[in-house]
């Protein structure tokens, strides 16, 4: 088992067009490092030079926004689902 990461259309150039890829790690930070090891450059699109999540990127672990669950330190376990989405307007 691993963690399923759903990739938005806009970032699929890094995953060879794959909609979802697998990754490993105990925290979101570790998962993103593992993603970057297999899909070089992806991390740079998600995380700023200062080490925070990019303002226009939302990441959800099992449908919950990680900014309210510890951000990059959010714990993840096998079987969890990570969804990456660009921020869009509603209303």
């Amino acid at each position: 088992m691993a963690i399923e990461v759903k990739i938005p259309t806009i970032l699929r150039s890094y995953t060879g067009g794959e909609k979802s890829v697998e990754a490993k790690g105990d925290t979101l930070s570790a998962v993103i490092d593992d993603l970057d090891a297999n899909h070089t450059g992806l991390k740079g699109r998600l995380i700023t030079d200062e080490g925070a999540l990019h303002r226009f990127v939302n990441v959800y672990v099992n449908d919950e926004d990680v900014r309210f669950t510890g951000s990059l330190d959010t714990t993840v376990k096998d079987g969890d689902s990570v969804t990456i989405l660009p921020a869009v307007a509603g209303g």
Partner: protein, 320 residues
């Protein structure tokens, strides 16, 4: 209840209990859900509050004068609310709307006399906002109220929705609403946190089909200027499937015919309720927003056929 005119009848909506969907309605430690019926506003959605407040604020500061034209990017409900207020107050209205919104919303806007400018489906509301900003530069005499950054939007909920909720449910523990312009959550959330500091403020946002996220790059993303994440405790992303499932639960079990975004909000509310109810000695009173009725979404097929079929039909639609 008697009012001088339709717009005066905005707000003060009913709060109704959901005895069938609540995990524990009775007992010493109830875990109860309460629906704030915002579809009872004059044009049938919560957006009447923001539209009226933004127009009043613009009138008060002299930006809006008789005969002016209002410009607004909207996926529908705000436009319909503004169209009603504009008609009664004597303004013109131009709405910039993504082309992938339901036909009912367009027809309603046209009936109210609004002019609709369509923005491309790809990019969703982000594109509508960008197009409206360009138009505002081209037509400087048009007044853009700009619901995403207008403090009067959140203030309407700080002064209305928040106090009404606390008045009707003094034991409130959680408030759950949709995250679009963020006005409802920011205004109501701030009020409740001030008056009842332990209240949790929870956001449910729609997770659309891929087309809606069709930006060319991440930097085209959009976070409303009103948004302040310190007001929220948690934030959930809800798929079309789950939103539809809960919309149907709401009709079948409680008789409430609501729009699809309400289903998304109920989904988040129930996930909180179920976790609390798993413990036997914890109580909760969870209030959530019914944003609008289901009428405007009938043509999307959301209410017919299997859930899977309905969810597929919503792919690419802006349903909140």
């Amino acid at each position: 209840m008697r009012y001088e005119s339709l717009i005066e009848a905005t707000g003060d909506t009913p709060l109704v209990g959901l005895p069938h969907l609540s995990p524990r309605w009775e007992g010493e430690f109830p875990v109860r859900l309460w629906a704030k019926l915002e579809d009872r506003n004059p044009t049938g959605s919560i957006k009447d509050r923001a539209a009226l407040a933004m127009v009043r604020a613009a009138e008060a500061d002299g930006r809006l004068t008789p005969g002016c034209t209002i410009l607004e990017p909207t996926s529908g409900n705000t436009g319909i609310s503004l169209a009603m207020v504009a008609k009664l107050r004597g303004y013109g209205l131009v709405c910039v709307m993504p082309e992938n919104t339901s036909i009912e919303r367009r027809q309603l806007l046209e009936m109210f006399g609004a002019r609709i400018i369509s923005s491309p489906a790809a990019g969703g509301s982000n594109q509508a906002v960008a197009t409206a900003k360009q138009l505002a530069e081209q037509y400087p005499d048009w007044v853009m109220l700009y619901q995403y950054g207008n403090p009067a939007n959140a203030q309407a909920h700080y002064e209305g929705t928040g106090p009404e909720l606390l008045r009707d449910l003094p034991t409130i523990t959680h408030f759950v609403a949709g995250l679009g312009t963020t006005g409802t959550l920011m205004g109501t959330g701030r009020y409740l946190r001030e008056k009842a500091p332990d209240v949790q403020v929870i956001a449910a946002e729609p997770r659309y089909g891929e087309l809606v996220y069709g930006l060319r790059n991440i930097d085209e993303g959009f976070v409303p200027e009103l948004y302040d994440d310190t007001v929220l405790t948690r934030r959930f992303s809800v798929t079309s499937y789950d939103a539809l499932r809960r919309t149907r639960d709401l009709i079948e079990q409680e008789g409430i015919f609501a729009g699809i975004s309400t289903g998304a909000i109920l989904h988040a509310a129930l996930s909180i309720a179920d976790r609390i109810a798993a413990g036997e000695d914890e109580r909760a009173d969870i209030a959530f927003v019914v944003c609008d009725g289901g009428w405007k979404y009938l043509s999307t097929g959301a209410y017919s056929g299997s859930l899977q079929q309905a969810a597929e039909r919503l792919e690419g639609q802006l349903w909140a």
